[in-house]
Symmetry: C3
Subunit: 315 residues, 3 copies
């Protein structure tokens, strides 16, 4: 009545077949001397960025005016070093891919690009955006408080609102996206997606005082443009209609595929707005469950027609 | 080919600007001598409460009748101390906010309120609800087993059903909500929201034998009232229609804004029921994708009209 | 101004009542000498399986052709031992349940079944599927790249796409399901559900080159059959219409309750397809928000009728 350890003798042969599969099936391994950004490091960076943005809520307790400068100064210094390293990894990896240099051979291949210096420059450029980001995020927190009768305080919003978490991470990722950092911005927004169920692409351009309530299931595509004071509920999709293909049969990447949402629009739960040429005019209200593939002028209320329901008695 | 550490010389000046922003942008920091509840502590408490409610599943293995009393007795003792501390923090913080005492100055300001004693009283009152909660949760587990043909055993439900996880956490949070504990109940339900994609406000009143299947995207608002034997599927919203504002232009907080769902109702995936005066009569069935903003009498089946679809051949 | 430790004197009596409730309310505890599979162990196994499938992305850095064999060989050896133990636990638990042997008394009760040997056999049979799984998963990664204009590289897909994570875990769980391992497959898919908001039952049969974009809110039921090259968006339900009950009033478990989706079908966001006899013909496109409870022939485009919306000016 026990497992038979002689049966383990077949495992080395299985290992050989698995390793052989790395040769044939090479799109889904990363056997190389140039490491990818580390998920663990990147998520540690996000955690510390939130400490800098919102001190006193989560990590270090008992911060006050007399000690916060030391704490934040130390975090900023450490973030500089760690971001330089991770951005450098991301830049080198993308370069290796685009030049089709076999990533595996790196270390022997000459390159004239100083990835470490570029990584450092962009890390500093990114950290320089933090004071401005705090201003934007305070407007978001206030929009959440003003927009949700269930919110007891802005502390509650910073502490546990998933919509605020998602927009915080997206605004950080968007700065990295504007600095043309590869892969890391998407790692950030997919991390937020896992935590919140809210999937906002790092490329989306989002105005001030943005509020997503509840949020699970929200999708906001790469080329969305959203003006100030927009409010969105759970399950809303701001997506693409269809993807044009180029003459080579490959998808065209980089075109505007997602809608434009003007100032002050409210979009209720599970509405879908699809297409790059769709504009929702300022002040409009899109009702729950509406699917729209064309523009609406300013100040329009769009709802589902009532008679689309059927009522009968239960048998 | 390296980062230039002289460039780090600009970081102290950046730190100064970040710290300066804490003065101007004061809604999103918590620089104060009175700590907020600790997320880490609160989630540790939730983990141990689940050990008490469902012993033998997750944490300590090999529990049996001869040792479970020691284990649970020790947990209850420790939960008392840790909950007293966290509830005390939550109560003091809310008090400081509501009296507009600058939280920062605490320690010098006199207060006549004994938050530690109140925290302890409510921690004990909360722990006293656990035997009754086990009874309610066993009925929920049975409802899940009876309602899902894919469930192989109630163990599977306790072990890994997200709907059972969400209702467990909400029932714990609801007891704290009834004891008028600030912020902590919402921390609990937002933690469950992150795990499960199910967002149930701590204030929602939910009857016995409640089952949410799949669950991602479900939203149940603060002032919902749900009777016994209700079954809900993924993507269902029990939400608000619109938020009345008071004479000061601020949202009115605390009114009934979310629907009432009577005994035995089934609500299929992605249906939305919106409004505080909406009552779904007992025994009714609300079909997938239906959006309702008015009441339906008992034993009504509501579905989407068939002809709202268009069929054509693919080009 | 402190908590009163004399009040703790009531805690032992409370503990007694909680322990007493384990006798009466016995569906939601596992007080027994035969341990259930350990969540922590099972999730560690999943993490290491992903290292074997996709080396170099997440865990060990700097893997290359000269060292990957040692690393993977060691992982496979360790996975054998740990999976044998966990599968053995799952098999013994299910056996105890089905024979209604009181699990509590195990160790004294004789059984002729050698669970350790069966656990080992199935662990090895499972590990033997890994080379084939790598082939299938590479096709999935390629389908994601080909289907999403926002994807910058297949590395990005392996690294952070939730749809790829969900199908990876489901394909692992499905192999365990085919080997008739109880409870563990569902632990895996519910873990993926928590991470991604995508809920695919281990029993679902899914063809090659499958891609779920965004994914939050997707539900794919136990008896779904999905052919090759199918693409699904967030919020899609492939679910059941209603559950037949047997003459004993209990649900009939194991019947085909979920739809069949043929080759090359695209299903846009929040569409629901419900029922075990529903077949979506090859090449069909199901539009956003459509609810279908009947079959459609090959090459059909199904969309929501336009006139179901009402437009008015905001007051």
């Amino acid at each position: 009545m026990a497992s038979d350890f002689r049966r383990k003798e077949q495992l080395p042969e299985l290992t050989d077949r698995i390793v052989a599969s790395y040769h044939d099936l090479d799109l889904i391994h990363h056997l190389a001397h140039c490491p990818l950004p580390s998920s663990k490091e990147v998520f540690g960076i996000v955690r510390d960025l939130k400490e800098v943005l919102f001190p006193g809520y989560r990590g270090r307790q008992n911060l006050h005016w007399a000690n916060v400068g030391y704490y934040v100064g130390d975090l900023v210094d450490s973030l500089h070093d760690r971001m330089t390293e991770q951005l450098c990894r991301a830049l080198r990896h993308a370069h290796d891919q685009s030049t089709r240099t076999d990533c595996e051979k790196r270390g022997t291949v000459e390159t004239t690009t100083d990835f470490e210096r570029i990584g450092q420059e962009r890390a500093i450029a990114f950290l320089e955006t933090l004071p401005q980001l705090r201003e934007t995020l305070m407007a978001d927190a206030r929009a959440a408080y003003d927009g949700d009768p269930a919110a007891a305080s802005t502390d509650e919003i910073v502490f546990c609102y998933p919509g605020f978490e998602a927009i915080t991470i997206q605004r950080l990722a968007h700065e990295l996206y504007r600095l043309e950092i590869p892969i890391v911005p998407r790692m950030l927004t997919e991390w937020a997606h896992r935590q919140t169920g809210i999937d906002i692409h790092p490329g989306a351009q989002i105005g001030r005082s943005f509020f997503i309530d509840h949020g699970t299931g929200v999708v906001i595509g790469e080329t969305c443009e959203i003006a100030d004071n927009v409010k969105i509920y759970q399950g809303v999709t701001l997506g693409a209609k269809s993807f044009p293909k180029g003459p080579d049969g490959e998808l065209v990447r980089g075109e505007k595929r997602h809608p434009t949402v003007e100032e002050g629009v409210i979009i209720y739960s599970s509405a879908s707005i699809l297409g790059g040429d769709v504009v929702i005019g300022s002040g409009s209200v899109i009702g729950a469950g509406v699917t729209l593939t064309r523009s609406v002028p300013a100040n329009t209320v769009v709802t589902i027609e009532k008679p689309s329901l059927r009522f009968r008695e239960a048998s």
